[in-house]
Amino acid sequence: MKQDIILAGVGGQGILTIAAIIGQAALDNGLNMKQAEVHGMSQRGGDVQSHLRISDKAIYSDLIAKGDCDMILSVEPMEALRYKPYLAQTGWLITNSTPFMNIPNYPEQDGLEKEIYSIKNHVLLNADQIAKDLGSARAMNIVMLGAATKYLNIPYKSFEIALQIIFGRKGQNIVDMNIKALAAGRKFADEKL
């Protein structure tokens, strides 16, 4: 079992939390993992990505090779497309549809969606809206993770346990909210098929 995942977004959107949860869940299942993060300059509103590799064998490279990525999980639609050169033919692109517009020349939404539809395996969801409907706009990234769980080779239950571990010290309310957000994202992915 090996899964190479690229997490994408804009600095400050919370992709490292997603990485931490997947990492925790992977660890729980006795899998090896490596996760390359971006710190520094680009965190000031620039594009950020994290290479997350999970395997039951030894993992050497911290970076994923182009054309090898099994999943792009993005909290922003244009950022999802930035890593298309990494996506394997069989890979999944799972992205939030809500744009993060902090540049003057942000492309047309229609054009972006057309590009996303042209990728065979894709899931496009308005995670911002889903999170808002649940009453917690900040759980957008967990909604995205929920959608991704369908295509990750880790039991769903492990993600719930990971949420408990990672959000536990913030109180049970926060944990429950995130577990709901996870379920809502998953439901969207399940219903898509």
Binding site: V10, K34, S61, D62, G67, P85, N102
Partner: protein, 539 residues
């Protein structure tokens, strides 16, 4: 013990603590910052009360570490690669005076310049100083090497360099800890001459350093971190150092290549090992992260050995970091390139945060300069920090970024050449790092210039660390000799725009050294501070 999921930086920090380190000395700099940040939170470090506050700059950090080593305690200094330029003087000379307690100099390089002005390779500094260098290839080695490096440092009474790169510093993986070693007892040097570099002693020390070089090489030949992996296909042998070893393993396993591999993670280079390895292989591919150090050494000045491939013969690009695709291509494997980048995707460069105080400072500066020079003809000397982003549109406010502190001294040089108005824009942390001495030059010379110290009360660019001169900027300026009336503190807010423009104008018109301090907290730091406050109140 359960494995910890740690960044390379964190694994190294935990390793230092567990190996009995009594103090870490550092100035922030990507990708090295998380070493000190980890030490500042690490329960074992807190329990032992290991020294863990920031230094003013990398030079003071290395000197402080040498002082701790003097007392027999284990210590570590850490910095980013360009920080070692600042610390080069104590670093080079510490190879002469050596170490009493183990001293690890940790330097994190940034190939591909993700957050840096250049991509210099610190291994050259270790070679220059003639000290051992260790180059971990993964997080576990980051941890284990601290133990090894301290032993080596104390065995030879030499500082030892630990070299990291961005991808290892900021990549997380499982790390197995060992039992903690006790800290060293305080034990002052027995040899009164050890830390004395009067020429007569320095000459002797240099001879000694030269004499032990073969021993250091022998250590590398026997290092547990250098090894040969046999392979059936000897048409090619791969010499891979540090992090690059990972990419080689990744690709050779994937494509079932059976080439022998020589991994180098401890320097000086293991000469006998390399010689034997090269004798058994027809061609040699050198894969190293950074500049071609090993490759150049193997080729020598006259590159007649055409068997050697690497960055120098064009097999790899001369610049930029390694990755699995580059290694696969060098091995003649057809690399999967995936699909091309869709045209619709545009760049998203980093930018100043919404509400950043620097924005208001730049607006006022741009406006005041209109009355002195034509729009588009502004020349403002600046420095390194979040505020460097003021170079980009829509601000277009500054013209230069050379090295930390250079805004003041470059503005002075230009003023000395007759430029008016001569303006330097520098961050508060940068000012305390290396702006103060430049200011003293201006005072001494009575230079006509305006120095704007952007006081956002934090080291913003590297994630909001505190800094040594916090709350003391005016006192420092007065102490250095700036006249009180020409130290002007303003609040960079849009409602103060007119007033701030007026104050800048007055100081530009004053013929002498003026310091203007726009003071408003970085919005990110403020948010973090508020959150921490709330948490504390909840308790």
């Amino acid at each position: 013990m359960k494995k910890l999921m740690l960044l390379g930086d964190e694994a190294l920090a935990q390793g230092a603590v567990d190996a009995g380190c009594s103090g870490v000395f550092a100035y922030p700099g990507t990708p090295s910052t998380e070493i000190m940040e980890y030490i500042q939170k690490c329960p074992e470090a807190l329990q032992r009360n290991i020294h863990r506050t920031w230094s003013s700059n990398e030079k003071t950090a290395v000197e402080e570490a040498v002082g701790m080593s003097y007392t027999g305690k284990r210590t570590m200094s850490c910095m980013k690669h360009v920080g070692l330029n600042v610390a080069a003087d104590p670093f080079m000379n510490s190879a002469f005076v050596g170490a009493n307690g183990g001293h690890i100099v940790t330097v994190a390089d940034d190939p591909s310049m993700h957050s840096s002005q250049n991509e210099q390779d610190s291994r050259f500094y270790a070679k220059f100083a003639m000290i051992p260098c260790m180059e971990p290839s993964n997080q576990q080695e980051c941890y284990d090497m601290t133990f090894h490096a301290y032993e080596l440092s104390e065995k030879y009474h030499l500082p030892v360099m630990l070299r990291l790169e961005t991808r290892l510093s900021h990549s997380r993986s499982g790390v197995q800890r060992r039992d903690m070693l006790p800290e060293n007892e305080l034990k002052l040097p027995e040899d009164r001459n050890q830390f004395m570099l009067l020429p007569a002693f320095a000459r002797r020390k240099y001879k000694h350093l030269i004499e032990i070089q073969p021993d250091l090489t022998e250590e590398s030949e026997n290092s547990p971190f250098n090894w040969v992996e046999e392979g059936k296909d000897t048409s090619l042998g791969i010499i891979a150092s540090g992090l690059a070893y990972n990419y080689v393993k990744e690709v050779t396993i994937r494509y079932n290549c059976e080439y022998p591999i020589l991994k180098i993670s401890q320097y000086p280079i293991p000469v006998k090992m390399i010689e034997k390895f090269m004798d058994n292989c027809d061609k040699i591919l050198v894969v190293e992260e950074g500049q071609p150090l090993v490759e150049e050494m193997l080729k020598g000045a006259i590159p007649k050995d055409s068997r050697i491939m690497g960055r120098l013969d064009g097999t790899f690009t001369r610049d930029g970091e390694m990755d699995p695709n580059k290694v696969a291509a060098a091995l003649g494997k057809e690399t999967r390139t995936g699909e091309s980048l869709p045209e619709i995707v545009t760049g998203r460069p980093p930018a100043l945060c919404v509400g950043c105080p620097h924005i208001d400072s730049y607006k006022a500066l741009n406006d005041v300069l209109k009355s002195y020079v034509e729009d588009g003809q502004r020349h403002v000397f600046s420095d390194i920090g979040c505020y460097t982003l003021g170079f980009l549109p829509p601000y277009n406010a500054i013209n230069t970024c050379l090295d930390m502190g250079a805004s003041i001294t470059m503005a002075k040089g230009a003023a000395n050449a007759g430029l008016f108005p001569a303006i330097a824009v520098i961050g508060d942390s940068t000012f305390c790092h290396s702006g103060m001495t430049g200011l003293l030059d201006c005072i001494y010379d009575k230079t006509n210039l305006v120095i704007i110290i952007l006081d956002n009360s934090t080291t913003g660019m590297t994630g909001g660390q505190d800094y040594t001169g916090f709350g003391r900027l005016e006192a420092i300026c007065i102490g250095l000799g700036v006249e009180k009336e020409h130290i002007r503190v303003v609040t960079p807010l849009s409602r103060n725009f007119e007033e701030n423009v007026q104050i800048l104008k007055e100081e530009i018109d004053y013929k002498g050294v003026s310091v203007v301090i726009p003071r408003r907290e970085c919005v990110q730091t403020m948010t973090r501070r508020m959150r921490a406050l709330k948490k504390q109140e909840a308790k």
